[in-house]
């Protein structure tokens, strides 16, 4: 474990990614305790206030403290993105590895169908799913998870196929190991690493997809403090007080960069042969 962390911190991406993601996770965990104001507390007399000692990042159109909203929103935004990615990845991994394991016609059928679904752009697929289920954060989460399944299935399948061809799996088959042992003990540990890397990078994509759904009015709904929704709502006040737009945008960008860097760092660190 320490060996792994040492490898991770050795690359600039890994170190920086860990720092940023760590910071964000800190906000997720502790954010709601340290918020100076309630995220939804309106102050009719302190609307559109520029950053000051009282409101470090300023206030928004309802006089709500932006810092408090950002910290509060970290939980939903990041946890939702991670959860959506995780669910999508899990679904994709099960589908992909299952398909690779089944092989033959079943594999062909599953993967062709996955290819077919990939012909619908993932944003559009998410839009359709959300409009089907109704616009709210939980449905957006599900939509993004569903939108991620096809590509994750592709990736996991190709990883699983590579692992499947390895001699240690052949060795296990030759000595008569059961399917469960082969999949769980021989294949899975080797399949997980590249999938985790891909998943980490995808979290940033999920954060942005969430934001975009909110922008199109199909994601989180007011008065939620999701960053994407905050940006989306702030657009109309841009010329009056740009900071309402600035901070949540920066938070989204930082999160996306953080997870991207972490993913790249993990990719290097998880490779057991370097």
């Amino acid at each position: 474990m320490t060996d792994f962390l040492r490898r991770l911190f050795r690359t600039p991406q890994g170190l920086l990614g860990c720092l940023i993601v760590g910071l964000i996770l800190l906000a997720v965990v502790a954010g709601s305790w340290v918020t100076p104001y309630g995220p939804n507390d309106m102050q009719a007399l302190a609307r559109y206030k520029a950053p000051s000692a009282a409101h470090w990042l300023g206030t928004d159109q309802y006089g709500r403290d932006i810092l408090s909203r950002l910290l509060d929103g970290a939980r939903s935004t990041v946890v939702m993105a991670v959860l959506a990615t995780f669910i999508g990845t899990l679904g994709g991994a099960i589908l992909g590895t299952g398909s690779a394991y089944l092989g033959g016609r079943a594999d062909e059928f599953i993967m062709r169908t996955v290819d077919a679904v990939m012909a619908i752009p993932s944003l559009l697929l998410a839009l359709l799913v959300v409009s089907l289920l109704g616009s709210n954060s939980a449905n957006a989460l599900l939509a993004i998870a569903i939108a991620f399944v096809p590509s994750m299935a592709r990736i996991s399948r190709s990883v699983a196929l590579t692992v499947r061809k390895q001699d240690y799996v052949s060795a296990a088959v030759a000595r008569g190991e059961g399917a469960a042992y082969i999949v769980l003990r021989e294949m899975l540990p080797n399949v997980i690493a590249p999938i985790v890397v891909e998943m980490t990078i995808r979290v940033s994509f999920a954060v942005m997809l969430f934001a975009t759904l909110s922008f199109l009015g199909l994601g989180a709904q007011p008065p939620a403090s999701d960053w994407g929704l905050m940006v989306s709502e702030a657009r109309q006040f841009l010329h009056r007080s740009y900071w309402i737009l600035l901070w949540p945008s920066a938070a989204i960008a930082l999160t996306a960069i953080g997870f991207n860097l972490l993913g790249d760092g993990l990719r290097d660190a998880l490779n057991p042969r370097t």
């Binding site: 159109q61 657009r235 009056r240």
Partner: protein, 519 residues
Amino acid sequence: MSISRRAFLRSSAAVAALSLALPEFAFAQTKAEAGGTLRVAVDQAISVIHPLLTRVNPEYLAVELLYSGLTRLGVNMQPEPDLATSWESNDDLTEWTFTLREGVKFHDGSPCTAADAVASFEAILNPEMASPARNNVGPIDKIEAVDDTTVRFTLSTPYADLPVALSYNNARIIPAAVISSDFQSLRSKAVGTGPFKLVSYEPDRLLVVERNPDFYDPERPYLDRIELHVFPDLGAQISSLISGDIDMVSTVAPNDFMRLEGQDGIDTLRAASGQFCNVNFGTDIAPFNDVRVRKALALTIDRDAMVDFMTEGFGTKGNDTPLNESYPFFKALPQREKNIEEAKKLLAEAGFPDGFTAELVASDRPAIRTQLAVALKEMAKEAGITINVNTMPHATYLDQVWTKGAFYVGFYNMQPTPDGILKLLFTSDAAWNETRWNNKTFDDLVAKARAVADPAERTELYTQAQQLMHDEVPSLIPAFFDVLGAKRSWVQDYQIHPRASVFRLDYAWLNTEAPTRKG
């Protein structure tokens, strides 16, 4: 009595006819110049151009350019002649006769006569055609052509506001031949008598009209061409106005209005209006069937703050009735103010000493609905009421919540008359009976008021009706919005209309500063 009444009505028509010329007296220090292309930004797609079926403001604008009605609505909310030059009624306001212009031609060259007017109104009143105008043109029982230029309306109940009601956005005259052959064909072409003729139409992008040389007023319109550009993004239309790409923005959000104020070459336009956003109670569903609960919620609202939150100050406080200064026959009631103590007391009496939890539905368009919901959520908290805001797509809202729900946000244009808004929303027979309040006394007051011509008497009746609503609170109406718009300074004689769905661009013209654009 009867004579004087008739005389009054005639004279009011005459006043209206006079007021038609008013804008020119008031603004036209320089004489209108003909020619030029006007580019207007609208914020929603122009999905429908069928004059009887339009539903949103950009569509009303398009139809207003292409078609005429019998009357049209002045900026002062008075009826003006359009295809009808004059009108009169019998004494008990049940039979109205309209005299039409002679020699008016449709865009296809065919003459427009009383028969077309009759066919048009029959189509409007035909439930099969599903025209939104059906509920808004008044209690018309029968319509007949007396001769080629005279139309007679027979009403089922007395109705003083008929000339105003006939100016309704969907009450347009279309050729009888089209109605009988292919009614739906007007979805893609335009055969009207309006000041402009249709050139091209792409619902999501652009609608272009050109001057109708055969328009009944040889002076108007002044513009050669009008282009309606669809901008789904509010920021983009403001940016385009600033860059001079667009000459006029039909509706502007308060923040954008503030941004535009003081910009060189841009005029901001503002008119006080009866436009409002409200919270409807399903008065037949617990806990909102208890008037104390409704009243308690009304008492939690800080109305000054609400005006700020919802309109950035471009609005006026509401008093939980749909009428305000912008409407005729209006008298103000004592203003309801925030009173948490009283609210808590009422709640306790109603059996909710610790408050209650309710889900408030707000559709996603326009965004102001959600803003009201979010602000109310915070304000109601003080009285111990927990509101969960549920935002849903407008289509889902219409399908599942609208006129059925217990607690949801509505949004309305100002109507031309008090009768218009009350009959639209709050009487038992309202077209959109959103609250199911169904108050007999209220219905009687409204019905009585429509049959009265005397302004003082009508004012008194509407004030009583208002008082009833104010006491029973079928709906929370915390604020009215001003109608906001903007234009380049080179656009002349465009006045923003409190009704927000009336534009009168046939009076507008461009001065010499306007850029020349390729037609």
